[in-house]
């Protein structure tokens, strides 16, 4: 839906852990607060992130595509079908507490989407891998996160080929739900069995690259991690702890 957008904003130049920590903190704080004003501040902070990253045009469209249907459902579930008292909203009489709840929930979702899509647009995957390697993140974790992203398009292409091949052999995709359920087997089995048969080959390829040696890998160009950014990440962590402490002590916003 959205990928890395090259640029030279402060977020692009920052250590990859900093925008990630910022988005993670916004997500956690969005779940800790429950008043419309507080959630409004979180949404504003998330939008500001996109502005600082200079990726607003790239981020707005996917945010709207993902958030608007949820906003619509929230307004129906909580506004139209919510409890009394009711207030007039155009031609509709909507629930006042329901509308407030819909605003909080919708704001929460919007803030999370803005923050994380901005991270996707501003954090280069290659720099993130370099940063993780420099931090000594085990190869297994890096392999799972990065290599799977390259495997998915290949498996998608294979799934499309199997779909076409089975249709050529007479497999019908339509019909009753039971008939469609039966069609799952001829489509899923070749996909999974074919991939399982390749496991040994991939194990040998990884072994040949010395993955099992256990030696710490050296990053080619690790991104600099300035003291100010490290302090900011600690402050964000403390902010999250403070938000949840206030929430559970009954003083939450």
């Amino acid at each position: 839906m959205i990928g890395y957008v090259p640029g030279d904003s402060p977020l692009h130049r920052a250590h990859p852990y900093t925008p990630l920590a910022w988005a993670g903190a916004l997500l956690l704080v969005a779940f800790a607060v429950s008043s419309p004003a507080a959630i409004g501040a979180v949404v504003l902070a998330a939008i500001t992130t996109a502005v600082v990253g200079r990726v607003v045009p790239s981020v707005v469209r996917p945010v709207l595509l993902l958030a608007l249907p949820t906003w619509g459902l929230l307004l129906v579930l909580h506004g139209v079908l919510g409890p009394d008292p009711r207030i007039a909203l155009g031609p509709l009489a909507v629930s006042q507490p329901g509308l407030t709840r819909a605003l909080v929930l919708g704001g929460r979702i919007t803030a999370i989407l803005f923050a994380f899509l901005t991270v996707l647009a501003t954090v280069s995957p290659a720099r993130l891998v370099e940063a993780m390697t420099a931090r000594g993140v085990p190869f297994a974790r890096l392999y799972l996160l990065v290599s799977t992203l390259t495997l998915v398009p290949r498996m998608r292409a294979r799934a499309a080929q199997i779909l076409e091949a089975q249709q050529c052999r007479g497999l019908r995709l339509g019909g009753s739900p039971l008939a469609r359920l039966r069609a799952l087997g001829p489509l899923v089995l070749p996909l999974v069995l074919g991939a399982l048969a390749e496991v040994d080959e991939q194990v040998l390829a990884l072994d040949a690259r010395g993955v099992t040696s256990g030696a710490r890998r050296t990053p080619l160009a690790p991104p600099p991690d300035r003291a100010g950014e490290r302090v900011l990440r600690w402050v964000l962590g403390l902010l999250v702890v403070a938000a949840y402490t206030a929430k559970f002590a009954g003083h939450g916003l």
């Binding site: 359920l181 489509l187 993955v211």
Partner: protein, 186 residues
């Protein structure tokens, strides 16, 4: 973690992420986004399945852009633990044992997802589930009950089909291939 397990976990994650394409082509009212997790649980064990499930959740968010799904990662842990236990008990030996075992997982996973959907998102999550919630709410069912019923209802079918698929995969594995997975519970 040995290399074979690592490659299998990666395969499980890819299956979780790709199978939706087939489900969409068949217009089925299920997600089947945990078939890979269940398969890894049966082939390797719970720890590897948890790794596959959580990685799938993160990558699904990255690929779709919908990061609001992240809190549902806990469901993948429940699925991984349950599927590994079910495999040890031989639930994948036949469709007659896999279907009820998947049905029970549907109840457990749906019961775990419902509070997350209700408290964190007010019941407005994935399109199909929320459509059922809205219909139930419109006929006067309280919101928390509507969220619970729709969440468990969709998961009962989804996990039953997912368990049946994994049982079918394990039974169809050629002996030569099956022999490479010592933990395989057929």
């Amino acid at each position: 973690m040995n290399l074979r397990n690592l490659v299998l976990i990666r395969l499980g994650v890819a299956v979780n992420l790709v199978i939706g394409q087939i489900v969409a082509a068949l217009l089925l009212p299920v997600y089947l986004d945990a078939v890979g997790t269940i398969l890894v649980a049966a082939l390797i064990g719970p720890r590897a399945a948890i790794a596959a499930g959580l990685t799938s959740q993160v990558l699904a968010a990255v690929l779709s852009g919908n990061f609001t799904w992240l809190p549902f990662g806990v469901i993948q842990i429940v699925i991984a633990l349950y599927a590994a236990a079910a495999a040890r008990l031989g639930a994948f030996r036949s469709l007659y044992t896999a279907l009820p075992a998947g049905f029970l997982l549907g109840a457990i996973a749906g019961g775990t997802a419902a509070p997350i959907a209700y408290f964190l998102f007010g019941g407005a999550t994935a399109g199909g589930v929320t459509a059922v919630t809205t219909v139930l709410r419109a006929i006067g069912v309280p919101l928390h009950v509507a969220v619970g019923v729709s969440s468990i209802g969709t998961d009962l079918l989804d996990k039953s089909v997912a368990f049946a698929m994994v049982a079918l995969i394990l039974r169809t594995l050629p002996d030569q291939l099956a022999a490479r997975f010592p933990a395989l519970a057929r």
